[in-house]
Assembly symmetry: C2
Homo-oligomer: 136 residues x 2
DNA sequence: TTTGACCCTGTAGCTACTACAGGGTCAATG
DNA sequence: CATTGACCCTGTAGTAGCTACAGGGTCAAA
């Protein structure tokens, strides 16, 4: 044990839960390093790429953008840099997320009251929802 | 008065707060009817198109997708259809919005605790945030 | 040997815009 | 009457983050 077993892209996909096409896409945009190839030109992934892809998956799941992840990976690669930049990115992202939640909550409240205003079953000509859309 | 004053696309843009390019885009995808043209081929909008564009703006602001708006406009055009379909679209959209809020709230909570876990000022090699990203 | 599952590249599609390039039009000014 | 600057036109390409082909090559098992 200890020797890395090379993974095909399909195996990587199953191991990380990321679509094959998406893995190739990440390579194309330079988010993942190009892995070594077999003689028949198949991608042969090692645990290095797998770790990186898992990093990407987790940060994507947390809603970070590709550019944010690029920055995080770069910081993570330079182990002796200050951690403050990482926290900064995370804090910015948290702020954005909170803002989105607040915006969506306003929409949800408006939709709720619009829906409540409709008695239901009447014709569109008398529909309060359509009316609200039509006249500010 | 009463006679519609034709609006140029720029005037429409100022009147509705929607980008000129976006107005042309809405026409191209069939969300807005193609307006009459002047002799010099300028779009000459009437209050009909303005109403429709305001409808689109309000529904977009409420987060409805273009396809949803297309359906709503269609229902709104057929005044004698049942209002139930409108409520249905709105209810679906509300459901989606609530789901998004819930998802984002989970993310925000996770981010918050990740950020809290970082003492700050330490080097990336010891950073809890990066560690969390790297190992599930 | 053939079958079926897998891999490759390259390109086009998706949403909802936004941003040009490269032209034409119009009203006011000198 | 020419010019200037603000406006308008079409058509195409770019944005994010994938996803979905088409049209081929590879490989292991039956």
């Amino acid at each position: 044990m200890g020797q890395d077993q090379a993974l095909t892209i399909g195996a990587m996909s199953r191991a990380t839960g990321i679509n094959i096409e998406t893995i190739r896409y990440y390579e194309r945009i330079g988010l993942l390093p190009a892995p070594p190839r077999t003689r028949s030109n198949y991608r042969a992934y090692t645990s290095i790429e797998q770790k990186r892809l898992n990093f990407v998956r987790r940060t994507r799941n947390l809603g970070f953008s590709i550019d944010e992840i690029r920055a995080l990976l770069c910081l993570s690669d330079n182990a002796n840099t200050d951690c403050r930049e990482v926290t900064e990115i995370a804090r910015n992202h948290l702020g954005e997320t909170k803002r989105k939640i607040a915006d969506l909550q306003v929409l949800a409240d408006e939709l709720q009251s619009l829906i409540a205003s409709c008695a239901g079953g009447i014709s569109v000509v008398d529909c309060r929802i359509i009316e609200a859309f039509a006249h500010a």
